[in-house]
């Protein structure tokens, strides 16, 4: 009898815990879902090993649920996925299992850590959220996907925190070290830099500074298909 009661409490406790995690994620989604469209100015800093590239300024456009586009006049290295795609992933709580995984301070704010595992096999294998329960905005997200490996996204909020629209987002991306044969690059006279680190992987960061948001304005679909 005692054993049964203990098991019952564990199951009820787990469900309650799980519902809380789901609820927090849904609150986050509901807050962001008020944003149907936005456009803004974006200033991008690149900190990618072996890539020497100046900062670039452009615009970004979003249209719910999945359309997103950066527009730059020049070469830019960007994350492969739309930074707001994850909101679409968390909107349907029947498609994933969410588990509370403790708390942690991020940007001096107490955050609840939630691990999310999709029930069905897809590109996203696992996601981890650090969400401020007071604002319901994710301050940090770690997404493990088949196509892009592990991507860490850190959001800094300001004027548009009420819509979970960040002023600054830092993408940390696992990447392969850049290397091509000297003869192929016709770089036969340069000195080779001998690195002690023999691993083929390294980490790159891309910092987006967003400003001048115009939210829920009319955005032509053509913008998302233009090259």
């Amino acid at each position: 009898m005692k054993k049964t009661l203990v098991i019952l409490f564990v199951i009820i406790g787990f469900n309650a815990f799980s519902q809380t995690a789901n609820q927090i994620l849904l609150n986050t989604y509901n807050k962001f879902s008020k944003v149907k469209t936005f456009k803004n100015k974006v200033h991008v800093d690149f900190n990618i090993p072996s890539i020497n590239i100046d900062t670039i300024t452009g615009k970004s456009y979003y249209k719910a649920p999945l359309k997103f586009k950066f527009k730059f006049k020049g070469i830019a290295f960007l994350p492969k996925d739309n930074p707001f795609l994850i909101y679409n992933f968390i909107k349907d709580s029947t498609k994933y299992i969410a588990v509370l995984n403790g708390t942690e301070k991020v940007q001096k704010q107490n955050c609840i850590i939630i691990n999310v595992i999709p029930k069905e096999e897809g590109d996203v294998m696992m996601a981890k959220f650090w969400i401020n329960p007071n604002t319901n905005c994710p301050l940090k997200m770690q997404i493990t996907s088949k196509s892009n490996g592990v991507i860490l996204i850190e959001n800094f909020y300001g004027k548009y925190a009420n819509l979970c629209l960040p002023d600054k987002t830092i993408f940390t991306i696992d990447m392969k070290k850049f290397k091509v044969p000297k003869m192929v690059s016709a770089d036969i006279n340069s000195k080779s830099t001998k690195s002690k680190d023999s691993s083929t992987k390294t980490i790159g960061t891309i910092i987006f500074n967003f400003s001048n948001y115009i939210v829920n304005t009319v955005i032509n679909d053509k913008i998302f298909t233009d090259k």
């Binding site: 020497n52 730059f72 070469i75 392969k176 091509v180 006279n189």
Partner: protein, 279 residues
């Protein structure tokens, strides 16, 4: 002086070998441009495939600035040989043909004759670099369009914004001209010491090939020698496409190249003014 230079220019351009340089530059540029027009994108995709796996690379189009850079890499190494073909013949060619005596009997000082020959060879070199600039840069921009320049090294990529690349190319052509001037003065120096038309050309080419090979190998003994070889400093044009610009390194190399020119000219003038003309 200008009259003498014009005569020397006439001599240069009346020799068929003087057109080898222009023909070679034209042929190489056209062949590379056709090849890159046909396969440039797939070649480029192959080079950056490791980055393409991690990032979405926006606006990376194969453009005229990138083609120009590839052409410069391919051609600037070969151009000293083309210049030596003309400059190495400047004095020794006249000695071999027996015209040096009649030239020196004119009421003009030996120094003036040598200055005229130097100036004529520098004008020839300038025209060759200008031709390279027109073919490599202007024609490439016309065919492939403009855009950001991607400088590819074996372990890094530097992206120079399109608007920031024009002055770098102009400076690169300037340094290429300075580098070729070292070759002109070296060939002229060897030409003064020789009475055979071919020897100075062959020796100049051999010196450049030897120095370039030494510069290519990453061996400790060669690394000690490299700072003293002019060929090491001739490739400094590439550093103009670094970000941030290694200004000190560029000026040191320019200084070394100028010192070589001064040294070679000093020996040339010293010897030519005292040379006993026997033929």
């Amino acid at each position: 002086m200008w009259q003498l230079t014009k005569i020397e220019l006439f001599k240069i351009f009346s020799k068929p070998r003087s057109y080898i340089g222009f023909s070679a530059v034209t042929a190489i540029a056209i062949v590379i441009q056709i090849a890159l027009y046909a396969d440039g994108k797939s070649y480029w995709d192959f080079l950056i495939q490791s980055l393409d796996e991690s990032f979405q690379i926006e606006n990376l189009t194969f453009n005229g600035n990138m083609v120009c850079f590839i052409l410069l890499q391919a051609l600037i190494v070969q151009m000293p040989l083309l210049v030596a073909l003309v400059s190495g013949d400047a004095i020794s060619g006249e000695a071999a043909a027996g015209t040096i005596r009649s030239l020196l009997t004119k009421p003009v000082s030996r120094s003036k004759i040598l200055w005229a020959k130097l100036l004529a060879n520098e004008i020839y070199t300038f025209l060759l670099v200008l031709w390279l600039g027109i073919l490599a840069w202007v024609v490439s921009l016309a065919i492939f369009g403009s855009g950001d320049l991607v400088v590819l090294k074996s372990d890094s990529l530097t992206i120079i914004r399109g608007a920031d690349s024009a002055w770098r190319f102009i400076a690169a052509f300037g340094i290429a001209f300075l580098s070729l001037s070292v070759v002109v003065t070296l060939a002229l120096l060897l030409s003064v010491f020789s009475e055979n038309s071919i020897a100075p050309i062959i020796i100049t080419m051999s010196v450049i090939i030897l120095f370039t090979i030494i510069g290519t190998f990453d061996l400790p003994v060669f690394n000690q020698l490299k700072p003293f070889l002019f060929t090491t400093h001739m490739i400094i044009w590439r550093n103009l496409f670094d970000n941030p610009l290694p200004t000190e390194q560029i000026f040191v190399s320019i200084g070394v190249l100028v010192l070589h020119i001064v040294l070679f000219l000093a020996i040339t003038f010293y010897h030519f003014k005292r040379k006993d003309i026997t033929q």
